[in-house]
Symmetry: C2
Subunit: 339 residues, 2 copies
Amino acid sequence: MRVVITGGFGFLGRRLAAALLRTRTFGGTPIERLVLADRAVEPGAPPAADPLVDVVHGDLTDRLDEVFAEPVDVVFHLAAAVSAECEADVDLGMYANVDTTRALLDAARAQSATTGPTPRVVFSSSLAVYGSDPALPVPPVIDESTLPLPRSSYGTQKLVCEHLIADYTRHGFVDGRVARLMTVAVRPGTPNAAASGFLSGIIREPLAGLGAVCPVRPGLQVALSSPRRTVHGLLRIAEAERGKGPGRLEGQVPVNLPALTVSVAEMLRTLREVAGEAVADRVTIAPDPAVETMVGSWPAVFDNRRAAALGLAPDASFLSLVQDYLADHPNAVALDASE
Amino acid sequence: MRVVITGGFGFLGRRLAAALLRTRTFGGTPIERLVLADRAVEPGAPPAADPLVDVVHGDLTDRLDEVFAEPVDVVFHLAAAVSAECEADVDLGMYANVDTTRALLDAARAQSATTGPTPRVVFSSSLAVYGSDPALPVPPVIDESTLPLPRSSYGTQKLVCEHLIADYTRHGFVDGRVARLMTVAVRPGTPNAAASGFLSGIIREPLAGLGAVCPVRPGLQVALSSPRRTVHGLLRIAEAERGKGPGRLEGQVPVNLPALTVSVAEMLRTLREVAGEAVADRVTIAPDPAVETMVGSWPAVFDNRRAAALGLAPDASFLSLVQDYLADHPNAVALDASE
């Protein structure tokens, strides 16, 4: 079995690779090669140093020949331009998110039509497909029957890909599966260009002894998922057999990954409880209308039944989510940041 | 005011052009030029013979420079590949329906960013965006809050364009408006490659003295709109002021044009009443699974409130729809076809 992760050196890509390399199987079948494709690679770093791993370096549309040089059984398509950069540069987002996905789908389809097998294509979509319209406000609770009305180019582009994947799956060109990711927090490392980046930053930076700006009012509710739960959800949806019943994936409707709903105020309160006053005081509230409009357009309360039928549950609490972050990143806390 | 119709020599394009040339205004402002763009043109034929009309001949993506050589105030984007051809050739559909629309939107956006004005882009989408999924059956009554789940590449491509138009409108690149057309019947002329073509054919052909095949079981319900009502709906949505309240267009959610719901059996009964036994007997029922699956996936019962708020009503009855056809096409009935 040959498994590909696009965006394989990204934050989720690395964690997904590590999870696959722990079991060294996909759906019970041994993985012979795990291909990590990315624009920016680090071949020596784990998990890339594992002997099962091949690295494909470059713009994905230019490297599809290499990715499909040997038959591909599964592709996790995580590579994407993120929300704030797509909003600032619609053409960039259309290229990185729509055109690249389409090229990937066509390469997968070409394999189905020639050597086979029909690749399983697992697409990471986003809660950003949802939003409200003056004529149609977003309902208080979202499930997969809710009409997506994106209020960002990023959400639009993800939604377009969802529909292309459903069509290609219906034609039998690929076996497409779509997971809509909640906002993944707490992310380690440095801030990225996602409008939701602050939802990691307001925890990560103070713990590391740095100041952080919270660009939304604390009353705002958000839908979070820890990196662990997010990777678990992607794997579960990828491995699920098709069909009706518990643990199976029915139809082509995307799956919203389970969401933990919290307010920013609750997040800051948890930080205060975990790390003390001095750490929590490193966060400055300074609403930024652009961020508040985009992040505020994303719904926060989800009916998780479709995910639950696949055995997926949200994080238990924001406290457990922060504890996971601390357990996974032992160096996350600056020595002078704890009290 | 310079108004463009893509697919301007198609069936609806000609009728829309004729309607605009009757008033010679758009939204109360005189039309200075009406541009009919199409791959196949008939420059001498009405309405192209009108002195207000310019003809642009060729593949739209190659002719956008010509279309936008002078500022465009309004584009009715009707040019499209139809359902059965898109299902048979996904690449053709993606090119004709998605790539061409995107090129048009980018040309309109370039005008907005330079000389202006921001063009009004009126897009003819389709009820084919709707369909059912094993996990999410289509509800008994459809309105604009219903989740579109296309079961055809044509419906997928139309839906993709809807979302791109909403995003471009949100950015202020265009003023996009989307009308979802019901199955337009009775169409004159010869059958096209639309899967729904038989819904005109089973009326038109027998009246003209020809046999016709009905490829679905007569119990199937369909959502129809006469050419008159369809053109009226497109114009109304194009001319509506934005905002809240009666007659205004609120938000960016598409408008489903009002549907007359009838069964194929009722259509055939009406034909029998209007034209007699011998004419109705020219129809042979021979279900074709491919057509039945696609047309059967389209919903038939609509809640028309959003359209009604814009002053749009469905055809009164299938009888009135047939009578309109006969009034508009005095030569539609073969001399030996009436009894």
